[in-house]
Symmetry: C2
């Protein structure tokens, strides 16, 4: 197996014939009734909540592992439950890896110098005997491209990857990220050009870079521009499903079937709340999750061909 | 006492006659020999390390509490030690508050919608019987000004504050943050104008906003521009001491002695490594910390008058 994250990712995508990333965003208020019922009524504090999101996420991992190459843990939903939540977060990362899944930690950290190095230590750096971390993390570059260096150094040392936030999918992202510069580029385009310099310095054996980019799937024209500016970077495309992006919108991130992974969280995790699945599978929520993954795969396959 | 963070902060600054914020950035490799010696030689794993940074930080808090209004916890240095580190982080926040200190959690989180809400829950939202959180947190606005809404909502509900990253102090910050827009503003100036709209909507009784800004103290001309664009926001100025900013450079953030808090971390925490203090106090590292705080206060007083 290659020493580089990007090669492991591409090979896992080929093996599963599927550029889908399942986002593990466990939200207590959205859990299936069957999971919530198991919390004792007299439970107090964080422990019972953490047990519920841990059990739920664990079942989701086992359900999706045969079908997809990679999962993405959103750290906010674990941090919310303080240290108990963080313990579950690391435990689930281990479980995902032991199921053969690649793991992205969606932490969106960004800070300067030794602080960035500490974040890289917390979320990316394997420490023998202590912890095996995610295969890649998301990072926020706003503080400056120099602030990515400590993350790149740790990634390089451990054969891991980064996804740099370049253009996000939320409605208000345009005002800051599409701000027009005096040189005719948008701010995000300028950022992409800077990230591309870094991406070119850390390639896998496949020729693709270990430094990918987060590009919101909800802006078609943006994806086209970004695809040109970051030719060696794989894109992590959030926004499929619950956030409203369609498979058609994601097509421009791909070239010859490669170049992106499409991430979906709520539309898969909480498929039990979707009538289409509830009517078919009743209270069997893992079946709903599995069918939602299979439907998303089919949807993307239709668009991407192959 | 006012229900608003900003009023509590201004009143604490008046009481201590001191706009200094001590940054709690515990780094194992920099701890005083006396603290490190107490880790048993056969200790393994994270626990002994966390005990050391907890004990060190706890002594720092007790040492600086009589002299300064506010401390700032850098979450990266706790996250690095996984859940054990996070447990220490929350425990130290409680301790700081019980010592009468205001607490800023320097988490620099930023994400969209429900994820931002989860981060606000993790770091800002008091949950009776579970945890009392920091009085204010730092947030990263790159994803869009709309992504600040969930943080503002939680802050407003609990009378807390935010410091929005607007212009940072690291050497590489200029390329992204000073990018010149077609309309003649830099990107950070445009961002500041947007943050000012939000700041104006959440004022304290003092007339100052509960939404402050992080502005690197190393660029004098930038501080002047930002002061004009964010007239109601208090600035959190990192970069004093170890990062090279002088008291003179910070002067422009103040008007009539108000408008900013100056943050210093390593120059205070690790004062035992500074010959000036080591020669005077020997192995008594808390004395070194205390003297470094007093010297910083005097330095700022000289510049700010009063």
């Amino acid at each position: 197996m290659s020493d580089f994250f990007i090669d492991r990712l591409l090979s896992a995508i080929d093996r599963t014939a599927c550029p889908v990333c399942v986002g593990i965003d466990p939200m207590l208020e959205s859990l299936p009734p069957g999971v919530l019922d198991r919390i004792p009524r007299d439970a107090t504090g964080l422990e019972a909540s953490v047990d519920a999101i841990h059990d739920f996420s664990s079942t989701v991992l086992k359900t999706v592992a045969p079908h997809v190459p990679v999962v993405k843990f959103q750290s906010a939903y674990f941090e919310k439950f303080q240290w108990e939540g963080i313990r579950a977060y690391y435990s689930l990362i281990q479980e995902a890896k032991s199921l053969g899944l690649l793991v992205i930690a969606d932490v969106k950290r960004g800070d300067i110098a030794s602080t960035a190095a500490a974040y890289a230590g917390a979320h990316l750096e394997d420490r023998p005997g202590i912890a095996t971390m995610a295969d890649a993390i998301t990072v926020n570059p706003m503080l400056g491209l120099d602030t990515l260096d400590p993350f790149v150094q740790v990634a390089r040392k451990h054969g891991k990857g980064l996804f740099v936030l370049v253009r996000t999918s939320n409605p208000g992202s345009g005002r800051l990220q599409d701000a027009m510069l005096a040189d005719g580029r948008t701010w995000s385009e300028m950022l992409a050009d800077g990230v591309n310099e870094i991406a070119g310095s850390y390639l896998g054996e496949s020729g693709w870079s270990n430094i990918g980019a987060v590009v919101g799937a909800t802006q078609e024209h943006t994806i086209t521009s970004m695809r040109k500016r970051l030719p060696k970077s794989i894109f992590l495309l959030p926004g499929y499903g619950a956030q409203g992006a369609s498979a058609d919108q994601t097509r421009r991130a791909f070239e010859a079937g490669r170049g992106a992974i499409v991430s979906a969280s709520r539309s898969i995790l909480y498929a039990h709340a979707d009538k289409r699945y509830a009517e078919k599978f009743g209270n069997n929520w893992p079946k709903c999750v599995e069918q939602a993954v299979l439907d998303m795969k089919a949807d993307l396959k239709r668009v991407l061909g192959g």
